[in-house]
């Protein structure tokens, strides 16, 4: 099999994106594009799984190692599930066919991000992953808040891209090459190396909405349609986490201060994210701040600076992405205020119990995947001697229970409206799949742990 064939998943996504744009001209029904997109994305996931680990290709700019394979399978699966939901519910009041295309393109960017072994390819992939995200965030064209949030997101994201690119240019200057392998082998460049690494990571931290570069996230999320947030806050974040891990592996040996940078950002994110999420009454803002907090946990794993820490960072982000997407999809169905969840147990018991599984996983209650995420994360961090940060993290996870339970309290103990959204099978299946994954990845966590620990 030639190297060209190893990237069949990417071709499928690209083909799917173009097909989605025109599908509804062939079959004139809203949702066909998203359904077709879901099909393409699931084929991409399956083919990515079948292709598996492959050596460097195209002069070493792309490589499918164990991490890339795991993450790209998860990315494609998540977007397939997301598109399935979109096929059922759409992006009302806008039509959803462009959204389906953007989702596929962003996923394509994410998959290239995790395979990239070259700064230029990486940068282009990141832009490919984030450009559609701007459009998704501003998808509701005539809503001022949406546009304000999207513009904020766009401007800040462009700025951070440039900061990152500035860092890349120094890395190129030091190593004389844009290839990761060359950068890893370049001699430590002292202050200049630290300078460039910090620039690179500040850019990435901002994209991952880590404190203190998180401030765009709550406004952007709160303006956007919750269905957009469900995608933008999960799939690109997982790709971003994988890239951060990859770059950390390359740069930490030359810049020993980097783990400390991660630790500081982790502390700030965990504290700020959890404490600021507490008073929120909008689910999107709540999830935006809790997203900051979860990035903080991910950084805690990264700050361990060990193989176990790197594996834990990716494991944790996967454990965060699945339930988080499902919760935002439920918010897209039920309404974006915490109070909109009131009476959910009475009108949609299945959805209410689903949210119990999802939110408890985010708190870290077993047997859901979130608890195993915390277990591998704390294990790696304690092994690296980050006891104080781990204690902050566990205390903050109790705080997180406080605000996640506000949603559950509304759903179960508060009376609300009786009429329910119409039943839509694809959407129900999508949420059920994410919930089942949240539960099953916890109870049967062995394979995922094996993949990721073998990867580093």
């Amino acid at each position: 099999m030639s190297a060209l064939a190893w990237f069949i998943p990417e071709y499928l996504l690209l083909a799917g994106a173009f097909f989605a744009l025109f599908a509804e001209l062939i079959v004139r029904r809203e949702g066909v594009a998203a359904a077709a997109g879901a099909l393409f994305a699931s084929l991409a996931a399956l083919s990515a799984l079948a292709i598996g680990v492959r050596p460097a290709a195209f002069g070493g700019v792309l490589e499918l190692d164990q991490v890339s394979v795991t993450v790209r399978v998860v990315l494609a699966t998540l977007s397939a599930v997301y598109l399935l939901w979109l096929a059922g519910r759409g992006m009302a009041p806008e039509r959803s066919r462009e959204a389906a295309a953007f989702v596929l393109l962003a996923t394509l960017g994410g998959m290239l991000m995790v395979a990239a072994r070259d700064l230029m390819v990486l940068f282009v992939s990141i832009e490919l992953a984030t450009m559609p995200a701007y459009l998704l965030m501003g998808y509701r064209r005539d809503d001022e808040h949406t546009l304000e949030g999207a513009l904020k997101y766009f401007l800040l994201s462009m700025t951070t891209s440039l900061v990152m690119l500035y860092g890349f240019s120094f890395l190129f200057g030091i190593a004389g090459s844009t290839s990761f392998a060359a950068i890893a082998e370049a001699p430590g460049a002292g202050l200049l190396g630290a300078f460039s690494a910090v620039f690179v990571f500040v850019g990435l931290l901002a994209k991952m909405s880590a404190a203190p570069f998180h401030y765009w996230a709550p406004d952007a999320y709160a303006g956007a349609s919750p269905a957009s947030v469900a995608f933008v806050s999960t799939v690109p974040k997982l790709a971003g986490a994988a890239v951060m891990v990859r770059l950390a592996v390359i740069l930490v040996p030359g810049v020993p201060a980097l783990p400390t940078v991660f630790a500081v950002a982790s502390l700030a994110s965990m504290l700020l994210g959890n404490l600021a999420a507490f008073p929120q009454s909008d689910v999107r803002r709540l999830m935006a701040y809790s997203g900051v907090a979860h990035t903080g946990y991910m950084l805690l794993a990264l700050s361990a600076g060990s193989a176990a820490g790197n594996a834990a960072a990716i494991y944790y982000t996967i454990a965060y992405a699945a339930p988080s997407m499902a919760i935002m999809l439920l918010a897209a169905e039920e309404g974006t205020a915490v109070d909109d969840f009131a009476g959910l147990a009475a009108r949609r018991p299945a959805a209410a119990w689903t949210s119990v599984v999802l939110l408890l996983s985010l708190v870290g209650v077993p047997p859901m995947v979130g608890m195993f995420g915390k277990l591998v994360l704390f294990t790696a961090a304690l092994d690296a001697g980050r006891l104080a940060l781990v204690l902050v993290a566990v205390a903050m996870s109790v705080v997180s229970a406080g605000y996640y339970f506000r949603v559950l309290r509304a759903a179960f103990f508060v009376g609300g409206r009786a009429e329910r959204v119409p039943r839509v099978l694809p959407a129900a299946v999508a949420v059920a799949l994410l919930t089942a994954a949240t539960l099953a990845l916890g109870v049967f966590t062995g394979p995922l742990v094996r993949w990721l620990t073998a990867a580093f």
Binding site: V356, V365, M371, A395, V398, A401, F413, R450
Partner: protein, 484 residues
């Protein structure tokens, strides 16, 4: 496979009842009763085949996450089988006591069954991760039991319960991970008596102490308990007091003492002090209560203090006594909560001044309440005496400061004071207005209480029925403590 069946049979029942149509409450309760009864039968079968002379038995071990040395490892010894029996028995009793549940019965019985999964699991898990899974699993159904079927302040009580316990258990998780990093395994049975470094032991013990002490609860971490108990529906109070508090003390006996014996010895004076304070403070607060359920709730703080006293003593008498108090408190407090709940269903009040003269109006209820009260205050011949006597004896023989033991002994007098004063006001005298119209206990209600009465008498009169199970295990633990 027997232990797996005991743990997960209720899960099957929970799933079935949860998926039933909402108006099929009467079917759901029969399923719940059938499942809990079958589970109890399995536990009894297990107990009959159990050999007290052996250590861990009926072990099952399957690799779960081999990279981290996590396994699905189960087993029972004399202490776990005692608690497992209590858990299965009280679960059945909780179901039967809730026979008249009208509000969302299918969900209610599903929650009770799910709770039993977690409780059974905690007492047989021999892997730390598995233990933690079950430990946390009980929080979820209990949160919903209190929050949905509880009293007027149920929302506050349920979230307070959840957050308090979660706070303790996340620190326990840190302790578990620290142990893993030191030993390279999550296997509880493989970690006993490894001679870990003393300072390390001290800190890990601190983490476990937070996790367990919130659950017990030990003063000053007890403040969630009165709220949770008072607001919880009767069956949930029974399981909360009867089983879930014991998970904390079980954790000390199963985990903290054998794995961290050196730290346990160092911490003993501190725990003794907290135990003595819990005993006296809980008793004093119980004395001040005007609400019957609150009185029982605070008396639990006092009784669990005796368990901690026994554990801290590190002597064979103390530890045997600790398990005896755990068992007896589960049975007796279960009885008390059940009778208070039965009276409350009839009078719609739990205020002591409104409920009086039970023995004249409803002699069966009054008589059983008196019996349970005497068992609770530690009357010789009933089960409460065994443990209190042994824990005090153990604490006296141990090296902990004698002053605390004297203070703890005062708690016995206080227990007599608050219990007898309650008996005098509630059971004796002329029936109050609320009591004068009520009818006596039904056959179903008496049937719920009879097994508990029998157990109270059996353990009280024939100590060895319980101690023959616990003593071999206790002997091993005491040897570890002495060697550290």
């Amino acid at each position: 496979m027997l232990l797996t069946a005991i743990i997960f049979l209720p899960l099957v029942g929970a799933i079935v009842t949860a998926l039933m149509p909402k108006d099929r409450g009467s079917v759901a309760r029969w399923i719940a009763a059938g499942v809990t009864a079958a589970d109890l039968a399995l536990v009894v079968f297990l107990a009959l085949r159990f050999d007290v002379a052996q250590g861990m038995q009926f072990a099952e071990k399957i690799a779960w996450v081999p990279q981290f040395g996590i396994s699905y490892h189960l087993g029972v010894d004399g202490i776990s089988i005692t608690m497992l029996f209590l858990s299965a028995l009280l679960s059945l009793i909780a179901v039967v006591a809730s026979w008249k549940m009208e509000t969302k019965p299918t969900a209610y019985f599903a929650m009770l069954l799910l709770l039993e999964v977690g409780m059974n699991g905690v007492f047989v898990a021999l892997d730390f991760v598995l233990f933690y899974v079950f430990w946390e699993l009980v929080l979820v159904p209990m949160y919903f039991l209190i929050g949905t079927w509880g009293g007027p302040r149920r929302e506050y009580a349920s979230i307070k319960f959840f957050l308090y316990t979660l706070f303790g258990s996340v620190f326990m998780l840190v302790g578990i991970i620290a142990l893993y990093l030191q030993t390279g395994t999550f296997d509880i049975s493989a970690m006993a008596d490894l001679g870990l470094p003393a300072t390390f032991q001290w800190w890990v013990f601190a983490a476990f102490f937070l996790g367990f002490a919130v659950k017990v609860p030990v003063f000053p971490l007890h403040t969630w308990l009165p709220d949770a108990h008072v607001e919880a529906p009767t069956a949930a109070s029974v399981l909360l007091a009867g089983i879930m508090l014991k998970m904390g003390t079980y954790g000390f006996i199963r985990i903290a003492l054998p794995i961290l014996p050196n730290a346990a010895n160092q911490w003993a004076p501190f725990i003794t002090a907290l135990a003595a304070i819990s005993i006296v403070y809980g008793a004093a607060l119980a004395f001040a209560q005007t609400d019957l359920k609150k009185l029982v709730a605070y008396s639990s703080v006092s009784h669990m203090g005796f368990v901690m006293l026994g554990i801290a003593s590190g002597t064979a008498e103390g530890l045997n006594g600790a398990v005896a108090v755990m068992f007896s408190h589960g049975v007796v407090t279960g009885m008390l909560f059940l009778i208070v709940g039965m009276v409350y269903e009839r009078t719609h009040t739990r205020m002591i001044q409104d409920v009086s003269g039970l023995s004249n109006q409803v002699p069966v209820a009054g008589g059983l309440l008196a019996f349970a009260s005497f068992a609770s205050l530690g009357l010789p011949g009933l089960s409460g005496f065994v443990g209190e006597f042994l824990t005090l004896l153990g604490a006296w023989k141990s090296s902990v400061p004698a002053a605390w033991v004297v203070i703890a002994a005062i708690g016995v007098l206080l227990a007599a004071a608050y219990t007898l004063s309650m008996v005098q006001r509630v059971i004796l005298g002329a029936p109050s207005e609320a009591v004068s119209k009520i009818s006596d206990l039904t056959v179903r209600e008496v049937a719920v209480l009879v097994p508990l009465v029998v157990l109270t008498l059996t353990v009280g009169l024939y100590w060895n029925s319980l101690l023959r199970f616990t003593d071999p295990v206790v002997t091993r633990i005491v040897a570890m403590l002495a060697g550290a």
